[in-house]
Structure formats: structure tokens, C-alpha cells
């Protein structure tokens, strides 16, 4: 997200879901849309029925390939090579958008030199994608002026995640496929309110609305708004918090609605870090793996039990309404925080959710036009700067906030851990259709458990035959960090040498194996590629 913001000005999806229908070319890279965003996939299928051409690039033959004109089955972590290669084809064949490049961008000539080495032959070697398919994809995307790119964690969850995002942005910039209706770059948000949690600045370097904490005039504005003096120093990210806790420099943590023991890479490290804390508070709806380590556990309420708003992947602020009462003495998180803050001697200055949104709009103009009354039926997309502003369907209609869009040269770097003699497979992780994230919600739904309750590792038939692994047979998957025993699912979805484990199952947790190597800019862990060995047990 930070990667995209640095280039275009915002890290959000530039188009809206409705606009998918009007796209001519849909390029999906590193997103298993049909399983992780099924209803967005419905829109893509609608576009397909209207004649849109779909390109899918993924290490796995994901269900969306049923509708794709071209499927580029790539090696995990070779995205930069593919994207640079496609860009080079577009330049060589003169398909670039010359007008857009000269009017709206900078750094083109220098960047052009940097992609020179990504010849189709070289790219094919790095990615495993047949040369002609890559060229065809480049032509399809490059010739269109109404194309959308969609990506999720398959692009970002790499130690080179920021580079991947830059390479995506370069491709859109090269063709001018940005800033118009049905034309743009669209990171799909994996969780209901990731967009909102980011907007609200549960982030260590910014105040609400992406306003930097290390700029004096910004800090002064917030000091005035909140009536308190604030720290001028950027905080640490979630993954760094764990390291700091282990090192002893962070002594207390307050975790609201998160299960980092399960969702962070390299699980043993996370447990060690949280155990080392002097004091841990966890506020959640279930006794999660993380809550078990806490000193105090507070019972929270879940979405159907409270009023508020969520901001979806297309920046739309939508109304969440209370439908049932929480169980026992469980309370909504907002009232708990207000209460606790008072005990620490600070009055939050609001009591109801609508008052919070009003304050949010006062400190961040992009939300100032949104109130509960206006979003009673349909949500509004920010920026929405006044009470009569209709909201913003797609970004950059009137240019880019930073002026020119930079081309940022990026070069291919293999994953931090590559397959070797001892760990000959590349493990990639993700979600499946039925389960959700750490499973604390879906695994408590009987019907879902009965249908998709077993952990599994996807392995190619050739590999399975060689290792004498049978379908549904137990295998041991080992990495440098740990090992899990898990049932094999033999499928051509994955290529030879690649295995896939969904992240949801605590009894065979993928994150025991994954690498906690981080992207140097945004500190995202490399969930999508690490080296493992597989053997029948």
C-alpha cells in the first residue's frame, strides 16, 4: 500500500467495483479472486460476459483461469521479472501511451534502460512462463486503454513486495491505464475493514488520513485537535513490535481483535515475544491462541453486535448496524477504549460512533462530507469533501496529487529463501473459499467445518508420484523454522516443485513454516515463498 501511495499518491484501489463491468482487459496478478473476493469475481464474470478479456498470472491454476484468455503460470516470487518483461514488449512494439508518458510522468528514459535486460527469453527462464504467452499478455494489456490491474497478497507478501507493487504501477503508467473510468490499479483488500483501519491510522507513521507524524505542522494540528502533546517519533510496525518485545524494549501490548500468534510468520518467535512481555491485554470475541498468553482478556463484540462503519476495498464508507446483543458482559470495543482512556486521565471527547466519524471528518477533509445520515442506504466513497459532494468513484480524474507519476526502476530479486537440495520445494500460502484468515470465525461454523475442515497441502501429481505420496495421505512438510504433518491433496493446480498450504488451520499451521523475512520498506513478511521439504509419513 505504501508502495502504491508513493507513486500515485494513494494506496487505495483507484476504481470502484461497479467499474469492473466496463473494463476491456482485466489483468489479475497474485489474486485468487474467485475464492478470496468471490463477489468481485462475479463482477469480473459479468465483464467477461460482455466481452472483457481476462489475464491471470499466478503460481497456481486458480479458479478464475476458467474465464481467462491467457493464464501465465509463474514461479512464486517472479512477479517483477514478468511485469518488467511485459513492459519491455510494450515499449519494443510501440504500444506505450506516449502522450500520457510525456504529460504526466517522469523518469521514463532512465527506467526504459533498466528494463532492457528483461528479454522474453530471460523472463521465460525466470518465471517459467512460455515466451509467447508472456508476449501475448503484454500485447493484450498494452493495446488496451481501458484496462484494470487487480492484485492482492500474491504481489505484496514478499520480501520484494514493494518492488512488485512498483512494477505493477510502472505497467499501468506506461500504458496510461490509470485515472479514468474502468481503468486503473486495484489492490483488493483481504479483510472487511483493512481500508478503514489504515485510513483511521492504526499505522505507526501517520495520523488519520495518512498525515505524517514526523511533520511538525501536522503534529501541531493534531495536538490542537486532541488537546494533548504528541510524540514526534514514528512508532514501530506490527512485525517490529514482536522483535522489540523479544528484545525487551517493548514491555506491554494491547491487542484488539488480532491473533498475531497465528497470523504472523514464524509462529514460535511470536509466542516467545508475547511471553516475554510484562503485560499483555487482548480484547477479542474468542479465546484465541494470542489471548491465551494475555494477562487480561476483555470480551468484545463482533460486527452484527455493534453500530459503526466499515470502509470497503473501493474506499466506500458503509454503515454497519447492530442486529443482536453481545453475549454475557461482552462490550463493543469503542466503549471499552473510551472507558480505559478516562482511567488513564484522558477524555476522548466522544461517546457514540457517529460522533467519532464526525471527529474523523474534522481531522481528515476526505471524510468531511460523510455522516451517518448520508450513508443510511448507500455508502459514499472518499474523497468526499463536503456534505453535497457525491463521493469519488475513481481516483486521479483531475491529475495526481504529487504532480508527475514517477517510473521507478525495479530489478528482479529471487525470494530470500530459494529451493535447494535440502528443501527442494517452494511453499506458497493463502486462503481457500470456505475458511477465513485464522479461522476463529469460520471454523466455528459447523457447516463450513464439515465441508472444509481439514488442513491440506496441494502438491503436483508428478511430485507426489516421485515421493510415493497418495491423495489424502499424511505428509510432513518441513522448513528451516518448523514442521507440520498434513494431508496431501494431489492436484495440477500447483506446478512441480511448488506446494500450497491454506493459512487457516491451527493444527497444521502454515505459519510454523513461513519465513519472517521482511520487505525493507513496508515490513510485510514473505508469506508467499519459502523453501520446504516434503515427505510421506
Amino acid at each position: 500500500m505504501a508502495g502504491l501511495a508513493a507513486i500515485f499518491g494513494s494506496g487505495a484501489m483507484t476504481n470502484s467495483i461497479r467499474e469492473i463491468e466496463g473494463m476491456e482487459v482485466i489483468f489479475i496478478i497474485g489474486s485468487n479472486t474467485k475464492e478470496t473476493h468471490p463477489v468481485i469475481a462475479n463482477r469480473m464474470i459479468k465483464a467477461y460476459r460482455k466481452g472483457a478479456k481476462i489475464i491471470v498470472a499466478d503460481p497456481r491454476k486458480v479458479p478464475m483461469t476458467k474465464f481467462s484468455e491467457l493464464f501465465l503460470k509463474m514461479r512464486p516470487g517472479s512477479d517483477v521479472a514478468l511485469l518488467n518483461g511485459m513492459a519491455r514488449v510494450i515499449v519494443k512494439e510501440g504500444l506505450e501511451n506516449k502522450e500520457f508518458i510525456s504529460d504526466k510522468t517522469e523518469g521514463y528514459e532512465e527506467w526504459k534502460k533498466a528494463i532492457e535486460e528483461y528479454t522474453p527469453e530471460y523472463v521465460s527462464k525466470l518465471t517459467g512462463i512460455p515466451k509467447d504467452d508472456m508476449i501475448a499478455a503484454a500485447r493484450l494489456y498494452g493495446k488496451s486503454r481501458r484496462a484494470g490491474i487487480f492484485y492482492t497478497m500474491g504481489i505484496t507478501q514478499h520480501a520484494c513486495g514493494t518492488d512488485n507493487v512498483r512494477a505493477v504501477a510502472n505497467l499501468a503508467t506506461l500504458t496510461g491505464n490509470i485515472g479514468r473510468e474502468s481503468t486503473g490499479v486495484n489492490p483488493l483488500r483481504g479483510q472487511n475493514n483493512v481500508q478503514g483501519a489504515s485510513d483511521a491510522a492504526c499505522l505507526p507513521n501517520v495520523y488519520p488520513g495518512y498525515q505524517r507524524v514526523d511533520q511538525d505542522e501536522v503534529r501541531e494540528k493534531f495536538e490542537k485537535a486532541w488537546g494533548v502533546s504528541l510524540s514526534p517519533q514514528c512508532g514501530v510496525t506490527a512485525t517490529e513490535m514482536m522483535n522489540a518485545a523479544r528484545a525487551g524494549s517493548i514491555k506491554a501490548m494491547y491487542i484488539m481483535g488480532e491473533n498475531p500468534v497465528f497470523t504472523d510468520p514464524h509462529m514460535h518467535h511470536t509466542v516467545e515475544a508475547l511471553e516475554k512481555l510484562d503485560f499483555l491485554v487482548v480484547q477479542d470475541i474468542f479465546m484465541t491462541e494470542t489471548a491465551r498468553l494475555a494477562d487480561v482478556v476483555l470480551p468484545a463484540s463482533c460486527a452484527p453486535e455493534k453500530d459503526g462503519t466499515f470502509s470497503n476495498t473501493e474506499r466506500r464508507v458503509q454503515r454497519v448496524r447492530k442486529a443482536v446483543n453481545p453475549p454475557g458482559e461482552a462490550r463493543d470495543d469503542l466503549s471499552v477504549i473510551i472507558d480505559l482512556s478516562r482511567r488513564l486521565g484522558y477524555d476522548m471527547g466522544f461517546t457514540t460512533p457517529s460522533e467519532v466519524l464526525e471527529e474523523f471528518g474534522r481531522v481528515w477533509p476526505a471524510l468531511s462530507g460523510i455522516d451517518y445520515h448520508r450513508i443510511a442506504k448507500y455508502g459514499l466513497q472518499w474523497p468526499c469533501t463536503s456534505k453535497d459532494h457525491p463521493g469519488t468513484e475513481y481516483l486521479y480524474k483531475d491529475g495526481f496529487p504529487k504532480g508527475k507519476v514517477p517510473f521507478v526502476p525495479v530489478s528482479f530479486r529471487p525470494p530470500v529463501e530459494i529451493a535447494d537440495a535440502q528443501y527442494p520445494f517452494v511453499l506458497t500460502t493463502g486462503r481457500n473459499l470456505y475458511q477465513y484468515h485464522s479461522g476463529s470465525m469460520t471454523r466455528r461454523v459447523k457447516q463450513i467445518e464439515s465441508h472444509a475442515g481439514d488442513a491440506y497441502v496441494e502438491i503436483n501429481p508428478e511430485d507426489a508420484a516421485r515421493l510415493k505420496i497418495s491423495d489424502h495421505g499424511l505428509v510432513r512438510v518441513r522448513s528451516r523454522r518448523g514442521s507440520v504433518d498434513i494431508k496431501a491433496r494431489i492436484t495440477t493446480r500447483v506446478s512441480e516443485g511448488v506446494v500450497f498450504i491454506p493459512m487457516h488451520y491451527h493444527e497444521a499451521a502454515a505459519n510454523v513454516l513461513t519465513n519472517d523475512a521482511l520487505d525493507p520498506v513496508v515490513k510485510i513478511p514473505e508469506f508467499k515463498a519459502c523453501a520446504v521439504s516434503v515427505e510421506a509419513v
Partner: protein, 346 residues
């Protein structure tokens, strides 16, 4: 554009629109069972028959495109007699068990039978009997209630792109089948359930939890992925009994298996119900005052001794904007550090 007349009302509509759509546009209601605004027309149920001046016999309005100068009559003694006969034929092969049907009160067929006052049936006779139950965990398929309107087949193909079901067999033996007539094994999005005009397709977990009476509907937003589908919770006795979505929403009424059928965690017995404080490695129940006082004391002490940067907060993409805003404000303004993050990266 085409100038047409519907039941004596002059109107101008876009070329290519069907007669049924044109009529609905100006508020003229034509009954239909197989037609669905988001699916291609089928013309299977024959309820939407209309008379068009110059046409030798009534035509199905859902499959007839308008053309300039058309004069359409949507209701007449002949038309109503035909519709009544069609309904009688459908009902002659439909179990009369509305009393125990999950969809009673939300069933288009039931409404039409009510509207036409059909109690006796001239065509009563043999009925299809299907004893095999589909063993899938999500969708109840009661084929005896199926009127073969084909909406489920179309939605599964056109919208979901799955093609899990189709028409099988002929005539009286016709039914909606899966491949090899196995148990349904699809994405279980339940789009078919949402478009079924009868009780043939329902959610298995809905059964006996509540239909219409005493059920309150609340519109909200799904709490799974970032798409932000608008959903409607159906609640009875503080329990969610159904999740549906309306057609005029951002998501056009479509949901996925998690959004439609993944709500039972809310009432899970595992839910935390009291604040808990750990003492000697064991959790014990505490009051909110005890728990919050303890947290405040410990945070104050650590802040005093080690500085605010020794404290960190982790928030959640599960929580609302308001909760997240309050949380970061709490960490920044009340604790005094910028050590706050959430799970966007994970």
C-alpha cells in the same frame, strides 16, 4: 427509442427492452416466476403472457422485445384465465405444505396462489416424489417443491460461472440435477437459494429457526473480505436465523458461502462473556471495573518507568472505523506513543 402503449398508457422505451421490463418501468405489474431481472430471459413459466395488438395469440412478455407502435394489454379475462390455468398446473405438482415450509411468507408461488385464490385444483393427480436427500452441508434441495423455472441453473452459470446444475430428463421426469446426480458439490455461494421463487432451495441451517413472524431484518455490511457486500440479518430472539442480500445493493444481491452461510460463529458457545484476569497462570472471571483498573494501573506504571514507547497497540481490520480511530487516538493521546499498527500486512 420505441413508442408503445401499455394498458392504454403511452410510453417511450429503449429499443431492445422486453415488454415485461417496459411494463415494470411504468409500474404495471405482470406476474412471473422464471423471469429474474439479473438473468437472461427464459420464457418457461408462461405466467407473464400478454396480448399484443396484431399478434394472433398471447405471447410471453419476458421474451418479447418491444417495437415501435406496439399496443400491449397485460390483463384481460382471457389472460387471467390462462394465468390461472398455468398456476393450477404448477400447483398440481407441488406439495401443499406451506405450513411447514421454510419459505412460507417469502414464496412467490404462494403469493400468486393467494392472489388467484386457488384452493381447489382441476388438475390434481400424480405428483413427483423424490426421496433422496442431498447430503451437502449448506443447501437444502427439495425437488418436490421445484417448479423448474430454471433460475438456479441460470444464476449458477451466468453469474457464478460454476455450472454445477442443469435440467435433466424429460416431461414429468424433468428435474434439476447435478453431475451424475451426486450430492451438490459447488462453491455453495447460495445464489440459487436467493433466486429460487419457491421453497425448493433453502439454507440447511435456516431450518426451524424462524421464517417471517417475529423475525426482524437489519441491513448491515458483511464482516468477511474487503468487498463490503450489503447483507440483511434476519434475527429472532437475539439469534441470527438467516443472512440475505437485497438486489439493489452494491453487490447486486450476490454473496459468497462465508457471507451467506458463515454466521453461526456469532452465537458460538465459545464466545468470551466476561473479562478474565490471569493469576498464577490461570484465568479467573473479573468485573469490568477490576479489569480496566488493572490495565490502567499497569500501563501507567510501565509508562512512568520505561516511557510510553515501551507500550504498543495492535488494532484490527475486523473492527469498525470508529473503533480503530478511537484505538489509535488512545495509544497516541492517552498512552503517548506512535507504536500502533494493524494487520494490513498479514
Amino acid at each position: 427509442m420505441a413508442k408503445i402503449k401499455i394498458d392504454g398508457i403511452d410510453t417511450t422505451v429503449a429499443e431492445g427492452m422486453t415488454v415485461l421490463e417496459a411494463a415494470r418501468n411504468i409500474g404495471v405489474r405482470i406476474p412471473a416466476l422464471c423471469q429474474h431481472p439479473k438473468l437472461t430471459p427464459f420464457g418457461g413459466c408462461r405466467l407473464c403472457l400478454v396480448e399484443i395488438k396484431g399478434f394472433p395469440r398471447p405471447v410471453t412478455s419476458c421474451t418479447t422485445p418491444v417495437s415501435d407502435g406496439m399496443e400491449i394489454v397485460t390483463t384481460s379475462p382471457t389472460i387471467e384465465r390462462l394465468r390461472r390455468t398455468v398456476l393450477e398446473l404448477i400447483l398440481s405438482d407441488h406439495p401443499n405444505d406451506c405450513m411447514i415450509c421454510e419459505q412460507a411468507g417469502a414464496c412467490t408461488l404462494q403469493e400468486l396462489a393467494y392472489e388467484y385464490g386457488l384452493r381447489e385444483n382441476r388438475f390434481a393427480g400424480e405428483r413427483r416424489v423424490y426421496e433422496k436427500k442431498d447430503g451437502n452441508p449448506f443447501i437444502e434441495r427439495d425437488l418436490e417443491k421445484c417448479i423448474l423455472c430454471g433460475r438456479c441453473v441460470k444464476v449458477c452459470d451466468e453469474v457464478q460461472g460454476v455450472e454445477a446444475i442443469d435440467f435433466g430428463y424429460r416431461g414429468f421426469d424433468s428435474k434439476i440435477v447435478t453431475s451424475f446426480e451426486d450430492d451438490l458439490n459447488c462453491e455453495f455461494c447460495g445464489q440459487c437459494v436467493s433466486v429460487c421463487p419457491t421453497g425448493a432451495l433453502t439454507g440447511k441451517q435456516w431450518a426451524k429457526h424462524g421464517r417471517q413472524m417475529g423475525v426482524k431484518e437489519t441491513d448491515s455490511i458483511c464482516s468477511y473480505c474487503g468487498t463490503g457486500c450489503t447483507i440483511t440479518y434476519h434475527v429472532k430472539n437475539n439469534d441470527i436465523v438467516r443472512v440475505t442480500s437485497k438486489e439493489d445493493t452494491l453487490n447486486e444481491g450476490w454473496l459468497c458461502v462465508k457471507g451467506r452461510f458463515g454466521y453461526k460463529f456469532v452465537s458460538s458457545p465459545d464466545r468470551l462473556k466476561h473479562p478474565l484476569i490471569k493469576k498464577d497462570g490461570e484465568f479467573r472471571e473479573a468485573t469490568w471495573d477490576e479489569a480496566l483498573d488493572l490495565i490502567a494501573d499497569r500501563l501507567k506504571k510501565i509508562k512512568r518507568e520505561d516511557g510510553p514507547d515501551a507500550i504498543a497497540g495492535l488494532s484490527s481490520a475486523r473492527c469498525t472505523n470508529e473503533e480503530n480511530y478511537a484505538f489509535q487516538k488512545f495509544i497516541r493521546a492517552a498512552v503517548g506513543t506512535n507504536n500502533v499498527d494493524h494487520c494490513a500486512r498479514l
